[in-house]
Amino acid sequence: MMPSTRTFTFGREVMLMVVFGALVLGMPQWLTWIGGYEALATKVLIWALFALGFDILLGFTAYLSFGHAAFFGTSAYVTGLMLKHVSASVIPAMLAAVTVNLALALLLGALILRRSGIYFSILSLAFAEMLHAAGLSIFAKWTGGDNGLTMDTKPVLLGIPMEGRPVFFLCAVFVILGFAVARQIKRSPMGLMLQAIKENPTRLEYSGVNVMAYKFAAYVISAVYAGVAGSLMVIYEPYVATKFLHWSTSGELVVMSVIGGVNTLLGPMLGAGFMLYFENVVQSVIGEQWKLVLGLIFVCIVIFLPGGFMDLWRRLRALLGRAKSRRDNVPDAPGSIQEAREANYAALANMEEAS
């Protein structure tokens, strides 16, 4: 089993959620202390939700999707169209967006989940690009093509106009809820199955587990997270850019997840915060080259610190002799499950010798 998974206690879980909730709700406050501004907090939360869902796919199953912009963007467009043409109320718009996203995830998943590894990455990228191209050409009448989709009405939730603080609280609720759900998924039998897919899908298949169903579930769940995030993005800023469907959105998602540290749930959210902080605050210091610097940071992290920031934290603790450095996303990396298992075998062999 996972070497570092501590036993679940209700009290600990509640404590953790309280601390997390306080951090999220206090974000507009503490973000200003480190040079950010209030409105940035909402954006950070939206991306954090997006990255959190992505971690259920990439972190748990190691399926690297380069096409999650498809879900984010589609949902954004559906929300935008609903708000513009049907009603300014947020609830039907979000429901419609998530429903469409579910359908899209089922369709795309049936096509690309048959393949794994690099094929999956390439195909997910290709289909997302197809949607982007279609959004600019075939659907240009609805999407507004290159100009994007603009709305003149303010979205409303139960009579509250959605701007400023209310949007932030809406996003915060979704992020806290999303985090709680993701944690439960992670420690559930399903979560273990998903982690097992990353380790050895063939073996899992042979032991009678329907691997396809599990990875499909992970894919769809991450698509729903992406859908909610895309929807919130439009509620936060009533404008749908074609960039939401572009590969660079998927790329940013991958970058922030890896920088933060995949399969940690907290890591990708941290990465999302870091990236937006970089984009909005650090940019004003170092100018337009922030993307180049971020790219360099990303490459360095992939090469030297594949476990991301979360692993940096662990390495620091390891220096203090508290815990072992470990990366979570790869089974055969040093310090991971494989090593723990081999240590077990060695211990068993020793016991047999002794007896």
Binding site: S121, L123, A126, E129, A133, A134, G251, K291, I303, V330
Partner: protein, 300 residues
């Protein structure tokens, strides 16, 4: 009447070949690297970019013919250095890490070029002999009336054909090619036989980059030279490789031709043209999940 149809068909086939030629050159390098090293090079579009930018500067300074020789040689060195310096240490790491690191390199290249030369298209003047049009009816007697085709696009087709033939000869008739082909089949076995495969793999990576270099020199004037072209070309090239079957050179050639034709014959319906490449990919992968020439058990 029928003469017009033949004219139109000829033009569309030529356009298809030209579009396919650019994809073929990029996809050949991709599939060569993938087939031998098992690395999916997300930075291949970036290599094309580097080549195109280098070609612009070298051809304005030293003339186009200098660029034709210098740029691919430089790119070979870039590819070789990349493999020795970075990719080498990623063979033992998971496929996703290889994708991530090459993707990171692609980002850095794109942003670096943006920073250095701006995000706009920079002009790539054609050499004097390559401008203008060719009157096809002078060479193809079955054509009726006046049929013109841009000269440079014909050059592009010829260059692609030359590169492909050279690669074919190299792989089929030399000892080096034999080792590479064997390595694509079963690199573990080759290692057991005492062949120093890792050194040759660096050369393969360099060759992949070299072909991207040739594509950059000749394709640059057609595809434009701006930082986002790299990724723009990479996605269809990936599809070419996947449709043809990962690691299959013949498959890559055939599928780049198919995609080129599909693009050329749908040009009148621009909405369809935007997504035709992906539609073809969907259909092929539904019918043959491993691609046209993909073999069972290869990198699965």
């Amino acid at each position: 009447m029928s003469g017009n149809l033949v004219n139109a068909l000829t033009l569309q086939v030529l356009t298809g070949m030209q579009l396919g030629a650019v994809y073929a050159l990029i996809a050949l390098g991709l599939t060569l690297i993938f087939g031998t090293l098992g690395v999916v090079n997300f930075a291949h579009g970036a290599l094309y970019l580097i080549a195109a930018y280098l070609a612009v500067f070298i051809s304005t300074e030293l003339g186009f013919f200098a660029a034709v020789f210098i740029v691919p040689a430089l790119l070979f060195m870039v590819g070789w250095g990349l493999e020795r310096g970075l990719i080498k240490s990623f063979y033992s790491r998971p496929h996703t890490d290889q994708i991530l690191v090459t993707f990171g390199l692609a980002l850095v290249t794109e942003e670096g070029l943006k920073w250095a030369f701006g995000s706009n298209n920079i002009p790539f003047p054609l050499p004097q002999w390559g401008t203008g049009i060719v009157k096809l009816q002078e060479y193809l007697p079955f054509l009726d009336g006046f049929v013109a085709f841009p000269k440079w696009r014909l050059v592009m087709i010829l260059v692609a054909l030359t590169v492909i033939s050279l690669l074919f000869v190299l792989l089929k008739f030399t000892r080096f090619g034999l080792v590479i082909r064997a390595g694509m089949r079963d690199s573990g076995m080759l290692r057991f036989l005492g062949v120093n495969i890792s050194q040759r793999f660096a050369v393969v990576f360099g060759m992949g980059a070299l072909i991207a270099g040739v594509a950059g020199v000749f394709g640059g004037p057609i595809t434009q030279v701006s930082p986002d072209v790299g990724m723009h070309l990479l996605v269809p090239s990936f599809l070419v490789v996947v449709i043809g079957g990962m690691g299959s050179l013949g498959g890559a050639l055939l599928s780049s031709l198919i995609l080129g034709m599909a693009l050329s014959f749908t040009a009148e319906y621009s909405a369809v043209q935007q997504i035709i490449v992906y539609l073809v990919a969907v259909i092929v992968l539904l019918v043959r999940p491993r691609g046209l020439f993909g073999k069972q058990g290869v990198f699965e």
